[in-house]
Symmetry: C2
Subunit: 273 residues, 2 copies
């Protein structure tokens, strides 16, 4: 199966369309060349991209694949009629049946936010990112009552990227708090977490994988030794079990999968999308 050039043409950033397009292309065993053309919001720019597609088709002797997310009818027509490509119109394919279902015309709005400075949803997302940063790695126990979720787990179990993802993608205020040897010796979760146990969610990890990750940071340390990693993980899991904190293993999961599981299980009240 030959590799193709894939164009992502959008009147906005095209990020969502490209991410989504990638998951569709991942169904096929080929390495395609990706070309992004964001902010194509005029007939002039569209004509330019159409010429680029045409030139690519000529040069490669293979039809390019063209993912479109274009709201404006005139702009879309120029690319849709592209004679030398397979056009996948990601937007209109679904907007049309929805127009029929709802019995109204779509409003042809470009982008999710008309003006971010005035969007409450957008500002909440930025606030959540700032919150998660300020509450990374147990840096601050202040305002933990306003956290939506508090991730707990041993050092390097994946708490930080997961908290930032929850904030960025879902506007969730996610704090994270390390469980450290001191806590295990005291046989108690950190006292600042005790009043918020209901919001806690644990990340665990394979000790072997943990040792590997820690060794990249601090080679040959006690911290990174397999023996110590085994002890910490065992202690952390016992502690979470004792405290009734649900957890999952991050070893084979992406931050997207971890975040989705947390949202499904904790169901925070505030959830943007």
């Amino acid at each position: 199966m030959p590799n193709r050039t894939v164009f992502f043409v959008s009147d906005g950033t095209g990020i969502t369309a490209e991410t989504f397009g990638n998951s569709i292309l991942a169904q096929f065993p080929a390495k395609h060349r990706h070309v992004r053309r964001p902010f194509i919001d005029s007939v002039e720019k569209a004509t330019h991209v159409a010429a680029e597609i045409e030139a690519t088709a000529q040069r490669e002797g293979k039809r390019p694949i063209i993912f479109l997310t274009l709201v404006n009818e005139d702009v879309r027509r120029i690319l849709k009629e592209s004679p030398h490509g397979l056009v996948l119109d990601m937007f209109n394919t679904f907007v049309e049946p929805l127009e029929a279902e709802f019995g109204v015309k779509s409003n042809h709005r470009v982008g999710r936010f008309s003006d971010v400075a005035k969007s409450e949803e957008y500002n909440e997302r930025i606030e959540a990112i700032n919150f998660s940063l300020a509450h990374d790695d147990g840096q601050s126990a202040r305002n933990l009552e306003s956290a939506d979720v508090i991730l707990v787990g041993v050092s390097r179990s994946g708490k930080t990227p997961t908290s930032l993802y929850l904030a960025m993608q879902h506007g969730i205020k996610a704090a994270n708090y390390p469980l450290i040897p001191d806590d295990f010796e005291r046989h108690q979760i950190p006292s600042s977490l005790a009043p918020h146990k209901r919001k806690c969610f644990g990340l665990s990890i394979d000790p072997e994988r943990l040792a590997q990750i820690r060794n990249e940071r601090r080679p040959d340390s006690k911290y990174a030794s397999l023996e110590n990693c085994r002890w910490e993980v065992r202690q952390a899991e016992q502690m979470m079990r004792r405290e009734g904190i649900s957890w999952l293993s991050s070893t084979h999961k992406s931050i997207e999968e971890i975040a989705t599981t947390i949202l499904r299980d904790i169901r925070p009240d505030r959830l943007i999308y």
Copy 2:
């Protein structure tokens, strides 16, 4: 136009599909109720969701909207034949024409990463997040040579969320560095940035908006005063112009829009997707 219940049913996290579905639904002036059903990877789970959809349709007297991203044919069939909903099959709608175009069957792989622990692309993303965190707000000038992008701008111009977004979404190692009054008085960019000017990208911002954001943090300070904000922004823009650093105004732009513009202009060599 009546509000509906919208189901997002996926065999993976469904995050991309939901984000994409949201941008389609934003074309219509209604507030829908969202129901996510991630990880639906068996006939049994699908049957359960189908019953839920049916019950919703009965209760509300309106057809639910159902976005599907399901790879398995048996699982999909159960939901596709849902009699009381409008089914939008986000996956198959595009996989089928691609199968025809490529002349091969798709591999029916669920999710972008088969096993994250072994995925180089995934590990690069996590590494980029760690890099961006370690290089937030000029915290470290070490390893700036391995940065893909260095964002510069006055305090609170949007550098931090943009860097984290670039790392998380695109696997880009994005450092960020504040431009502060000391730099303006010296009339020089920070010396650690000088060798890396080619990778620098500036964020500017409306002084009025900046004063508003800073006032939320430190009310009635000199730092937040409109007069000081005007001075800092003017100085920063002059400095970037003098140094030949391209920049944009973040005032009315989302982090997605800022990131897309940066990628289009800087074109970092490493770019995951």
